[in-house]
Amino acid sequence: MASVPRFDELALKYVLAESDETALISEQAAQAIETSTNKRVTVGQWAASVHRWLQSSGEDDLISRAKALDFLASTLQILSRRDDTLNADQVKLLVTFFCSLFENDHKAGVTASTKALRHLIVTKHFQPTLGSEIIRSICKLGDDFKLQAPTTRLEIYHLFWSLLEIFTEAYDSEYWQNDTNAFILDLLNLCRNERDPENLMMWFAILKAILQDFNPSADITSEIFKAFSAYFPISLRPSAIPSSVTTDNLKVALRSCFSAHSRVGSHAIPFLVDKLDKVDQTVSVKVDILLTLDACLVKYDHPKQSVVPYADQIWGSLKYEVRNGEIQDIIKATLKVLCSLTKRLDGGDLEYFLDNSWRDLKEDISDSRYTAQAGRLLVAVVGAAPQSFALLMPRALEHIKKTIKHNTSVIHKRHLIALTSSIVKLRLLLVSDSDFNQCQPEDGVLLSDDLFGDSLFHDLYLPFWEEHSASTSPIEYIGILGEAMQGLGALVGQVFSGKGPAQRLCSDSTCETIISLIAKPVIICPLRGLKYFDLLEERVPQVLFDAGEEALRNAVPLYPPSFRYLLIQFLGSIQDTYRSHTGPHDLSLQVRNVSATLCTIIHSGMLEHDVCWINEAALINTLLQGLQWMLSERADPKFLVVFIDAIHTTLKQALKQASIWDTTPELTKEQFNHLVRTFEADNVPRADLDQPGKIEALEVGETGSMRPRRAYCLFVVQQLYRRFTTVSNPVISSSVPVGEFTRVALSGDLYGNGPSLLAKQDILLNQLGQMAASVVREFSEEEQRALELDSEAFYLFHTQNYDSAQKDAIPWGLSPANDFRTAPLSLGIIQGLWPGAIRPEVHLPALNDLVTVLVTIPMPCSDAARAAMDALLCVLSNKLDVKKSRALIEQRIKTQQCLIMNMQALMGHRQAIGNTDSKLRIFRSVLHYLAGDVARPLTGSDQNLLLTLIVENGAVDVMTGRQLAQNLGLMVMPRECLSDSYHAIHKKLGLGWFYHRNIVPYLDRCFPGPGVEEREAVNRAVGIFSILRHLDYNIYTSEAARIVRIGVRSLDTFKVGVETESLLTVLLHILDKDPSQLRGHLAALIPGLANIYEMARNVADAAEFDPNADGRGGDQTYSSKASRVSVRDRDPIATRMYTLQFFQKLTGSGYENHLLLPHRRGLRRPLATACGDSVREIRRTALKARQAWEGLG
């Protein structure tokens, strides 16, 4: 009997314990019960252990009594997890005990009893019959229920919920029919005043479950409906206690009660319609009512009983919400309800409903005030199901046609034609709907096929179009035509709705007429320079153009042959306009726009992948023909550029598609050559063919891919390269015998030699090169290697039929022919290659050759070619993957040695060869080389001699130190050709390494002092800021204070232009990231920067009167002094802009007013003057800064 005091003790301990210890105590009790041999006795002792608290009934003991009962509950919680410890009698006894507490102890017993019961009912030996007893005793709480804490009530709801689940499992719904409906009434009575959101969520779920599973009688159903409908429409008052339940949660839970079962239908639908008809409902309430009604209509079973009787009532009430409604949300919800309603009707009910609604709609369609609304109702009703479409559409369409014919009001016509277009689009959707195929009758057609073919076009659209599209039409017709276009676009795609293959309803000739109508404003008018409407200033109104483009986007996928028609129109219009010289002066711009439109049409995502690919090929092919034609006309290069750009755009889009859809295996050289032969042999059009080829030939499947997009793109690049270049055997220099070297050169298409013509041709070559880069980069390293693209960069695809001896005759290096103007083409290919795809035997000679050319004085090429060569140098130096072999490292050092020797020869001596310009060009080339090189830093001490030379000695150079310093930023500037998309080699934290190695050691040498001359100090500062402007603030944050000091000193020493621009960029970075760094220097910074702004203004004003300053146009002798002064130094726009931005941001950087206010007076005049700057954007910034300073304090 030793265990008797143990339970007493445990209970006492439990009552006295802190909340974190209680779990352990109940665990002990549970264990004692489980391990005991005589469970009956032990359980009795355990239950009796709380006896002493039950005896007392005073108010003071409430807490300890509750806790003691909780001891029992939490022990049960542990026991219930272990299933069968308690036998059926014990369970019954305990249930009775806890139930009795609901009657006797409303204050302390409820929570613990509920908890205990929740655990008891899940034990193995619980009898479902006890459930009713539990509910009955809880209901005895009566009015005290609502006095319980919300959390206690929530526990009780959970208990109910669990009991319902047990009932559902134990009995079928018939069981409840007579006997136990009473407990539901008790329950409704008990919970009728619930207000807590979380409890309501449970309560609604319980009511829903009762409706669905317990087959309540009609009376009870009515009572249940009253219980939940009293909450409708539900909202949530803001409360001090945050709740996880939102209004929307409550709405959805309540809605599920309404739609729980069709047996509440007779109450719910009239109730909801009645609520809707009440005036003064808010928008959200109306939407809630409509959504609830919709849920009921969708979910009720037995629609004959639950929906059909109310169809007229619903229509009669809801039609006004659309007819007279203004709020889009309500209208949308109403249309959804009507659509759901129609879906639930069939047979005679449907016919009756449609007849009834058509009577209203017919009248409204004829009345211009209500046409649009009636149209929306009509579309909602007929769009619900194919049956309703078939039943109502013939008369509706007939009526609409008739009304259009006998109408003169523009607005009314517009609404009617928009309605027709919506119907045509709707039919398109219905046919493609998967449900449609299931409900389709075996032999008949369902969707009024005869009405939607040629007849609709000839009866309605064509006469309508002819009447309204005359060029003298008033401008109000633009909108009408736009609406009609939408319908025309969809009409093209109408197909037979019966079983069998989808046959088009419109004849080919009708489709072609439609396409030609839509193409006029989108393609023909812009290209031919025609005006669509005489009355308007613009050629084609934007509305019409947009509508046409959208219609084409829809129509082309539905009627694929139309794209060919558009292409023929495109090309034909360009040719006619160009020849007649009567077209728009901006023909090239229009060609660009229209080709972009064509590209959008095929990439709108609506075309099947294969059709999309065929159209891509057809478009590229057409653009190639256009280019070819322009070449044959010897057109200005700007037209050629437009075509090249258009091809580039299309290729890029095609490659994007390829990366998504095409699963091409790795391409080998043989496969590519085979494909090329197929493209050629199958008459796939090349740039030199006049006739459009058979694009279907591109569907070749033998090579493993149905859509050889990438190969085709490369093929196009190859063709264009071959077209614009040729192979020649010129005399390069006297030392090379004739014929020894074969060289690629520009072809005869690029003829002439005027400077402006050459400049335009250079644009063409650069754009072509960049197109090649976009294509080449899409190939994998293995493919690039297999295709030997590294050597093609210098052969320019001319050696296809050469044997190896002939190939060897062409050196791997840029062709010096035409003053190196083919450099952009070589760059394009190399730029897109993976580092591993460039063989060292190609790479090294090319690199060294390039270095030799670039250090030659006088410069053997134009500035444009040199820019491409510098970029190529950068790419080649970056892609030299030295990690792979020791030999490459040595080669790299050799190349650098060559550059070092050249640099040393150039620096220091006044007598050095060449003028400053040539020197500077060579310096810049070296910096471009380093830019590629330092992106993948090599950290050995002997690895960076060239970098050390530039950084260490550059600033000390008397002649060119300053200019060299200005350009140092070139080494770290972010560059496209060094980006990941072009497979450049990057090392993480490379910039941090660069900063610590090349900037930190020199920060102290930015001030003159022992061993540091003034010139060196300034040059170093210039160089440092030129680099820092491209670095992230985090990199130099630890030296920020020193950098700011250098910056303050530099205010007086920097030249206005690039130097101040770099300085200001860095200062703006610092101000943005850590304004406290500048706090102590405001007194120097503000007047200093005001001074810089004024100087910048003076420089700009002076430039206006300097006739040589205009570097654009005029004679392009490359050594002209004026052209070497950079644009940014001539007119320091950026410096002025940044200064004012700095002033503006100062006021918003969190400085106390007393730091800024003393400077306001001094800034007033400069800021006021800045409001008169010659550049509009700067004036705007100045005004903002001025207001910010005036607003201080």
Binding site: K760, E976, I1178, R1179
Partner: protein, 202 residues
């Protein structure tokens, strides 16, 4: 307080004269969709600071998007059309109190003008009704806005458009009187009204 004109004619914001619309009409709408811009601009290595070669294409804008343009009537209009009316929650542009043709700059704007030339800006305002008692306050608001926003070499004159106000002489006199203007700005109530009007200016 009763409003002088409780039911004024209102212009739609999209119908007001702006500079942006004119520019928009030229640019094709699909550029962003196809990243056409990336294809059409000149290659990076030919742009500053990599290279300083002029780009002969006639279609592309200047690289940085900055345009050298003098202060013109449209710019003055942009500065003052966003001022709020003292009695309606509408801007002076929407109420057609300020209109582009009623703004005159002498000498007429040109890019090559010397920044120190004295320039006169004359704005004629059209009150919504002929007996508008707030015409002076509106005129004062425009004057204050322009003086705060224009450089020191600009002189601002605000007048009532001929025949649009029953007492235009008196209002014009008040607006032209420097001392009265200065005195008005000292008045706290009036200053409050003006600040409220200028709040909507950007």
């Amino acid at each position: 307080m009763d409003k002088d004109n409780a039911n004024p004619t209102i212009l739609n914001v999209s119908e007001l004269p702006t500079r942006q619309n004119k520019k928009k009409a030229v640019t094709p709408g699909k550029v962003t969709e196809l990243d056409l811009g990336i294809v059409l601009r000149r290659p990076e290595y030919l742009s500053a600071p990599f290279c300083d070669v002029p780009w002969a294409s006639d279609d592309t804008d200047s690289d940085d998007g900055f345009t050298i343009e003098p202060i013109d009537e449209q710019e003055i209009y942009d500065l003052i059309s966003t001022i709020s009316d003292p009695e309606h929650p509408l801007s002076l542009g929407q109420l057609a109190v300020v209109n582009l043709p009623d703004i005159h700059i002498t000498p007429s704007p040109s890019a090559a003008a010397d920044p120190n030339t004295l320039t006169q800006v004359l704005v004629k305002i059209t009150p919504t009704i002929t007996h508008c008692s707030l015409a002076t306050v509106i005129g004062l608001g425009i004057r204050v806005r322009l003086e705060q926003a224009l450089p020191p070499n600009y002189r601002v004159d605000v007048m009532i458009k001929e025949g649009t106000h029953s007492q235009d002489d008196q209002v014009n006199k008040q607006l032209a009187d420097k001392e009265r203007v200065a005195a008005a700005l000292e008045n706290a109530t009036l200053k409050g009204v003006l600040d409220k009007m200028l709040e909507t200016c950007v």
